[in-house]
């Protein structure tokens, strides 16, 4: 049996496999065929998963919590030395397992889903490239390696959202995603520069080890954490940078599942957990995170209530769940946040893939008003989707129950107001998810296509993910159920913030909180069943709705607000700077240099009368002046 250290030195294989897959698929686009390229991509991600799993099993966190593997010096200038290195510890292993595990299932699913697309090889190349970037992100041993992955996933997200590039709206959505991510990246780059300025290094072990030297509330640390959080806002779609994520649903559904639900969007949470030591030193930042997380959770959930596109509902649900995770981070409950990341990866990937299966079954239809009654035709999809819905709604014993309950318990310990808000959000989530479930699978079929169940290559991942969504709660089973919160203890070996967590609630209080949320969620589900299960008519257009409902249905008009506030003024600025600033000010300024010469010439030319006597006079005068100057020199 090889030891963990020896295996860790092979950890570069984990990102290398998908990178190789991306290169091979990109190079041999034509030759592999649809199934060939899909199989290659899936197998390579599976290989990564195997290596990750081996690493995980050989990892003895008590004895050897962290292993840093340096490949080579990347940037080395003056006092700056940034190695290309991977850090293998509990946190990165958790994320690696999620990325490669869920990623492998989604790759497998894509073989079926993308089978008929002519550019399937490109698709798998990009998907592999994404996996590679995401692995760099989670495995990096310093902030800059993480940033490579950070930007890399942004790029892949751009490419995959705009995968069907002939549609201008999709291209716009892709660009929007990239630019909004980039706005967040400004924060990350500045944060990294500031951290480097403070610590002289960007290695996680060094930075986090030395951070204790700064007092709690040190303004520079607060600034750095705020800037990091700006990056997290962009990547993880928090207010105010969340509008790209619903638009990102323009990409193929597996992309939505992998990138925009399970992995990439949780990068922000990963970054915060990774830097949890710093965030613990910045209470102000944590308050900001809590406020923004809660607000995002509620706002996105409210928008989800009236969406009619199956993927849009799930997208807003993702935004909302990400808000929960950030709220947990803001509460200092990092393990709860990471636990929710994990379970969310399972059930949200499941829901997206289920939605994809439905879309596939209906030949591309995404409008839930044209669905209904599919539970008879697509049985596996229905059951797995039901499990996913129960999980996200937080019903015992599904995984979402435990992870969401962890967050709610922490919120209650912090402040009942936050608890009430988050609980309300959970009810909204339950409502729109059950609405979705009932509108899609129950009632009568309202569309005009012939639905059919998807092939096994699509349903197998669904089943696996459904099992995970069902049993995922065991990963971090709380004490009240007789568990030992194994995930929390595991992560505590990697993130000092997790180790410092403390939650003191009486067992009775916890039981009451769980009972309350379960009862309320069940009531909401029952109400949704009553409203939507037998639905045969279609919802109207937003224009016919009462004001508030219409406002919510139109997504609070935030897209329009941004268009008015930023996009149009920017376009105007660009045009004006060119037509006015450049053509009316700058160019004349430069031409002025020439014009001054010409004008001066016109003035001086008058002296040239052509009168020879005058010249002679001038010459004599000049000679006299020069002689006098040399004689009685100045």
């Amino acid at each position: 049996m090889v030891s963990f250290e020896q295996l860790a030195h092979l950890s570069w294989l984990v990102p290398a496999f998908p990178l190789a897959g991306a290169l091979v698929n990109a190079a041999l686009r034509r030759k592999l065929g649809a199934n060939g390229s899909g199989a290659l991509a899936t197998l390579l991600v599976a290989a990564s998963f195997v290596v990750s799993a081996l690493l995980f099993w050989s990892h003895r966190p008590e004895e050897h919590p962290v292993e840093v593997v340096t490949l080579f010096d990347w940037i080395h200038v003056g006092g700056m030395s940034i190695p290309f290195a991977f850090q293998i510890d509990a946190l990165s292993l958790t994320m690696m397992l999620i990325v490669t595990g869920v990623g492998m299932l989604i790759h497998l699913y894509s073989i079926g889903y993308m089978h008929d697309d002519p550019r399937v090889a490109s698709f798998f190349a990009m998907l592999n490239l994404f996996t590679f970037a995401m692995l760099l992100l989670v495995m990096g041993a310093n902030y800059l390696i993480t940033f490579i992955g950070w930007e890399g996933v942004g790029l892949c997200s751009y490419l995959l959202i705009g995968f069907w590039y002939t549609n201008p709206a999709y291209n716009y959505a892709a660009r929007k995603a990239f630019v909004m991510n980039r706005i967040g990246d400004v924060g990350v780059v500045l944060a990294l520069a500031l951290l480097f300025h403070l610590f002289g290094t960007l290695d996680y072990t060094a930075v986090l080890g030395r951070a204790g030297g700064f007092g709690v509330g040190n303004p520079l640390i607060v600034g750095a954490t705020l800037l990091l959080f700006v990056g997290a806002m962009g990547k993880s779609a928090q207010i105010p940078l969340f509008t790209w994520l619903p638009d990102a649903m323009a990409g193929p559904t597996p992309v939505s599942a992998l990138i925009h639900a399970a992995t990439m969007v949780t990068a922000g949470i990963f970054l915060v957990v990774r830097s949890s030591v710093l965030f613990e030193l910045a209470p102000f930042t944590k308050d900001v995170i809590l406020a923004i997380g809660t607000a995002t959770a509620l706002l996105a959930a409210s928008i989800g209530l009236f969406q009619n596109d199956i993927k849009k509902v799930l997208a807003y649900s993702t935004v909302s769940q990400l808000g929960y995770m950030f709220a947990a981070l803001g509460l200092g409950a990092y393990s709860a946040g990471m636990f929710h990341v994990t379970t969310h990866a399972f059930f949200k990937a499941l829901l997206f893939l289920g939605a994809g299966s439905v879309i596939h079954a209906l030949g591309g239809e995404q409008d839930i008003r044209k669905m209904g009654g599919l539970k008879g035709v697509t049985k596996i999809t229905y059951i797995t989707f039901l499990i996913g819905t129960l999980a996200i709604a937080g019903i015992f014993p599904f995984s979402g129950f435990f992870s969401k309950d962890g967050i709610l318990a922490n919120a209650y310990a912090h402040s009942p107001v936050v608890y009430a808000l988050l609980l309300f959000g959970a009810l909204l989530t339950a409502f729109y998810m059950f609405r979705l479930l009932f509108l899609v699978f129950h009632g009568r079929y309202r569309g005009d296509r012939r639905p059919h169940e998807s092939p096994a290559v699509i349903t197998i991942p669904l089943i696996v993910l459904a099992v995970l969504s069902l049993g995922g709660g065991l990963l971090n089973l709380p004490h009240v159920f007789g568990g030992h919160e194994p995930m929390k203890h595991y992560l505590a070996t990697a993130a000092d913030g997790v180790a410092g967590e403390h939650l003191h609630l009486e067992a009775a209080t916890e039981w009451i909180l769980m009972g309350l949320s379960t009862v309320l969620v069940l009531l909401t589900a029952w109400y949704a069943y009553g409203r939507f299960a037998k639905r045969t008519t279609l919802d109207g257009e937003p224009a016919d709705m009462p004001f508030l409902k219409r406002l919510i249905a139109e997504k609070w008009r935030i897209d329009e607000l941004y268009a008015t506030l930023f996009e149009k003024p920017y376009g105007w600025l660009s045009t004006t700077l060119f037509t006015f600033g450049e053509n009316k000010v700058m160019t004349p300024l430069m031409n002025g240099v020439g014009n001054v010469t010409l004008r001066a010439g016109k003035v001086v030319r008058r002296l040239q009368t052509g009168n020879a006597s005058f010249y002679l006079f001038a010459m004599v005068a000049g000679i006299i002046v020069f002689l006098l100057l040399t004689l009685y020199g100045v």
Binding site: R605, Q608, T609, G610, N611, A612, S613, L616, F617, V620
Partner: protein
Amino acid sequence: MNEITTAIRTVPLEHYVFLSFVLFSIGLAGALFRRNTIIILMCLELMFNSVNLLLAAFSAFHSDPSGQVFVFFIMLVAAAEVTVGLAILVMMKRNVDSVDVNQLNRLRW
């Protein structure tokens, strides 16, 4: 030989300098206030000669033949200059039927 040298020395060098300055200034003033181009040319010759005189005087007083060689070259150049100058004068007379120097202002630009 000694006689000659003493004879030359009876007149101080300053006087030669003054004389040539006076001649030069007369030539200059003439060049300024006459409009007849041919007279201006003559004034130029006058100025040349005042300079020549000065050079010759210095040459004699410093016992350096180079000064006189210079005078020789100035004469050469003056001869060439007069040739061309008079040719221009002929042209001018032929084209504008005048030797007024102010008629030349059409060469202005």
